[in-house]
Symmetry: C2
Subunit: 431 residues, 2 copies
C-alpha cells in the first residue's frame, strides 16, 4: 500500500545534485555593494605595494653617506630644509648635509636613501633654522619601506571563489577595483505547500499552523548567496500545484518546494515530477531528519523537494541546495565544513539512519565540543534558533554517549571544498 | 620633542569605551527584512506547540478501546469512514469500530485518541468500503503529538539580544511575528583622513595611495549591525578637518575617523578633540597593531580615532567600536569571542605589547589551531583577506613558538558576553 523507497547515502545524494551544478554569469557590482558576494575572478595587484619607496614612520629622510662616523662623542648635524607630509612630494634638491622631515607614508625624497625616526634625532634650532643631531650612522635603505617589498605588480592577491569580507574589500580598494567581478546571484524560487499553512499575520485556527518554512528558506537562500523569489503558499491540490510549479520554473534558476514529498495521500510532488517529465534524482535519503527530501531535474534545472518539517527542511537546504548555489557563485568551498569533536550528551537509542542533531559548538581548553540543544524532533523549530552546528551521528545498531568523538558540521563557517562524508562508526566506538 | 603617551591595556581601553554604551531605540521591521538584526524583545509563544493534538505521521486515527485484544491470531477490523489531510478538520462522528485516515500534521478527529501508522495497518477493500486490520492493541495517546508537548503558550522561546538567523526567523514565523522588534541601527559616520588618499577609481600618482580603510570600515560596520554613513576623505588641514568632524557629529551616533592619530606634524585628531572640548579616553594602547588608536567623548557621543594603517584600523574597530555597536543593538554578546588553541608558527622576537596576529583557524583531530597568514606588518592589507581570527600574543620579554597555547580571537563567531582579557603569559610558558 505504502510506496517503498530505497534510501541512499547523503554523499550519494549530494553527488547526484552536484552533477547539475554550474557557474553563474559574470556581473560587476560597485565596491560598496560587494560585501558578502563571491569573487568571480582573481584580484590582481595593479601596482606594487608599497607603490614607491616610502617612510614607514615619522622621521627624517637623509642621505646615509652623510651619517658615516656619527657617534655620541662625534654627533653629525644635518640641516632640515623641508617638511613633507604623506601625499606630498618633496621638492628639495638635497645638498650634502641636508635632511627632509617626513611623515609616515611619505614618498622618499629623491636624493635620500635612509630614514631616521624622530626618537633617534635630536632637533636643534639656531637662527630660525632647524638642525638634527644624530649619534649613530645609518646604512642605505635603513627604515625605508621599499617599493614592492610586500607585493609585486601583477601578483594574484586573492583567488576567485573567495567570499568578499571586509578584509577582501580593503584589498579590492587598494588595487582600484571600484567595480568588482562577481557571479550573478541565482534566482531561487520558493513555494510552500500544504493546506494547513496560514500566513504569519493570520490568527490560528483548528488544524492549521503558520508557514515558517518559507521565511526560514528565504533567509537560508540569502545566507548562501542566492536571490530568493517567494511565490507564496499552495493548497494541496494537484492541478493547482502542477501549474504553479510549471510556471515558476520559467522564472527561476532552481525551484524549492517545502512539503508534499512524503507518501501521504496529498503529497503531490512525486506525481508532479512525473507529469513534468522530470528525472527523479532521489526521494529517500538515509538520514534524519529529512529522509523524504527529494530532488528532480528537468532540462538541467533542479527542483528541490524539501520536507515540510522545519528542521528537515533546514537540513535539506544546507546539505543539498547550498552547495549548488555556492558553486554557481564560484565559491571554491561550497560544502558545509565538518570537523571532529566531542559529543556532550547521550543518545542511547540506536537509529539505522545518519542523524543530524542540532547543537551548539563550544571550545573547552583548546578542544571542540558540541552540546545538543535538546528536543530533537523534526517538528521542533525552537531549537533551530540556537543551533550553529549539526552533530552527525552515524546510523547503526547502538547509541552514543557523552564523550564520544563525532563529526560536527559547521553551519556558519566559510565552507569546505569537499562534500559531506556519511560518518562511519569507528571500530573503537563500535566495540 | 615627541609627545609621550602612556599606553593602557586593551581591557582598560574597552572598559573606558563601554562606559558610554547604551541601547538603541526600538523599531519594527517586517519578517522578510529581519535577518541579521538583533531581537530587541523576547520572542514569546502566542500558542502552544503543537497547537492541537495532531498526527505526527500518515496513518489512521482510532479509538484505542477498539483495538483491545488485537493480535496476529485475532486481528481487529475497523471501518475507514473518512480521509482527512493536514489543514482540514474531520467532520465524522465516530461510532465504535470506525477509523479516520489522516495525514501528517492533521488535527486529531474528535473521538480518536490514538494513531496507527500506515505500516501497522493492513488495508482491505470490500464492497467499495475500506477497512483496516490491525494485529496489536494501542493505548490512549499512542503516536499522538499532544498539544503543547513541545512548547507551552506564553513561554519565552528566544531571548532578546539574539542575532536573527534563519532558525530564529522560523520561530518568529511560527509565533506570528510578521513585524519583528529590533533596535534601530546606530548611524556610524566615517571620515578617512590623509592627503595621500586617492579614490578607488583614481589612477595612482607619486606619493599617493588608494583609500582602502573607508571601504573596509563600511563593511565592518555593516557586519557589526550598524548603518555606515561615509562622508568621504579629508586632506590634512586642521581647520577643514575640525569643521568636518564638528558637522558630522550632528548626523551620527558615533564618528569614526581613520588616520591622523599618531604624533606626526599633520596628525590633527588630538588637536581636534581638544578644540571640540572632547574628553580623551585614551590615545595609546599596549597593543600592536593599533597602539595609537584614540577614543574621545563629547557629550556622551564617541569619536573613534582609528589608525590609518589598514590592519591597525581593522583591529581597532573590532576591539572597540564593534562592542559599542552591538550593545546598542541589544546583543548580549557584544565582544569578540576568545578561545584557547595552538599556535602553528614561530614568533621568535620579543615585543613589549600584546600582538594581534592575523591568522586562520583550523581544527586538527578535535583541537583548535591557528595558522598565522604571514607578512604581519600593519601596512599589509593582503593578509586581512584571509584572516578569520587573531592570535593574541601577550607582550613580554620573549617570543613564541609553534605548539604554544595561545588566545585565539574569533572574528566571525556570534561573540561573547565578556570583554577581551589582555593575555598574560602562563608561568609554564615563561620558564
Amino acid at each position: 500500500m505504502v510506496e517503498k523507497r530505497d534510501p541512499i547515502q547523503v554523499k550519494e545524494a549530494v553527488s547526484r545534485v552536484m552533477k547539475y551544478s554550474k557557474t553563474g554569469e559574470l556581473e560587476h557590482v560597485s565596491l560598496e555593494n560587494a560585501e558578502g558576494r563571491y569573487l568571480a575572478e582573481d584580484i590582481i595587484a595593479d601596482h606594487p605595494v608599497p607603490p614607491f619607496d616610502r617612510s614607514p614612520l615619522d622621521g627624517f629622510a637623509v642621505q646615509s653617506k652623510d651619517t658615516k662616523g656619527a657617534s655620541s662623542s662625534n654627533p653629525v648635524r644635518l640641516e632640515v630644509v623641508e617638511t613633507v607630509g604623506a601625499g606630498h612630494v618633496s621638492t628639495s634638491v638635497l645638498k650634502p648635509g641636508q635632511a627632509v622631515r617626513v611623515m609616515t607614508g611619505t614618498i622618499m625624497p629623491e636624493a635620500c636613501d635612509s630614514i631616521i625616526m624622530f626618537e633617534l634625532a635630536k632637533e636643534v634650532n639656531e637662527n630660525n633654522q632647524t638642525y638634527i643631531e644624530i649619534t649613530r650612522s645609518f646604512e642605505k635603505n635603513d627604515f625605508v619601506a621599499k617599493e614592492g617589498e610586500e607585493t609585486k605588480k601583477g601578483e594574484v592577491i586573492v583567488n576567485a571563489g573567495k567570499k568578499i569580507t571586509a578584509g577582501v574589500i580593503a584589498v579590492l580598494a587598494t588595487f582600484g577595483y571600484a567595480k568588482v567581478p562577481v557571479a550573478k546571484k541565482p534566482v531561487i524560487g520558493i513555494y510552500a505547500t500544504g493546506t494547513e499553512l496560514l500566513d504569519v499575520d493570520q490568527d490560528l485556527e483548528p488544524g492549521k499552523i503558520r508557514n515558517s518554512n518559507a521565511y526560514m528558506i528565504i533567509s537560508q537562500v540569502k545566507q548562501a548567496g542566492g536571490e530568493p523569489l517567494y511565490f507564496g503558499k499552495l493548497e494541496d491540490n494537484f492541478e493547482l500545484c502542477f501549474k504553479a510549479v510549471q510556471e515558476a520554473l520559467k522564472e527561476v534558476d532552481v525551484l524549492i518546494t517545502t512539503g508534499g514529498v512524503s507518501v501521504g495521500d496529498f503529497d503531490f510532488l512525486p506525481a508532479i515530477y512525473k507529469k513534468l517529465g522530470a528525472n527523479l534524482l532521489f526521494n529517500k535519503i538515509a538520514m534524519r531528519p529529512g529522509s523524504v527530501t527529494s530532488v528532480a531535474e528537468k532540462d538541467g534545472q533542479l527542483l528541490f523537494g524539501l520536507s515540510g518539517n522545519p528542521s528537515a527542511c533546514y537540513v535539506g537546504f544546507e546539505l543539498f541546495t547550498r552547495p549548488w548555489i555556492q558553486t554557481y557563485l564560484f565559491s571554491t568551498k561550497p560544502y558545509l565544513e565538518s570537523v571532529k569533536g566531542t559529543l556532550k550528551a547521550n543518545f542511547p537509542k540506536a537509529n539505522p539512519f545518519t542523524r543530524f542533531i542540532r547543537s551548539k559548538i563550544a571550545f573547552e581548553h583548546g578542544k571542540v565540543v558540541a552540546q545538543p540543544i535538546g528536543m530533537d524532533k523534526s517538528q521542533v523549530v525552537t531549537s533551530l534558533a540556537y543551533s550553529d552546528v549539526f552533530v552527525a551521528l552515524p546510523g547503526g545498531t547502538r547509541g552514543y554517549k557523552s564523550g564520544d568523538e563525532v563529526d560536527i558540521i559547521l553551519l556558519n563557517s566559510e565552507g569546505d571544498s569537499a562534500p559531506f562524508q556519511d560518518p562511519v562508526k569507528s571500530r573503537k566506538t563500535d566495540q
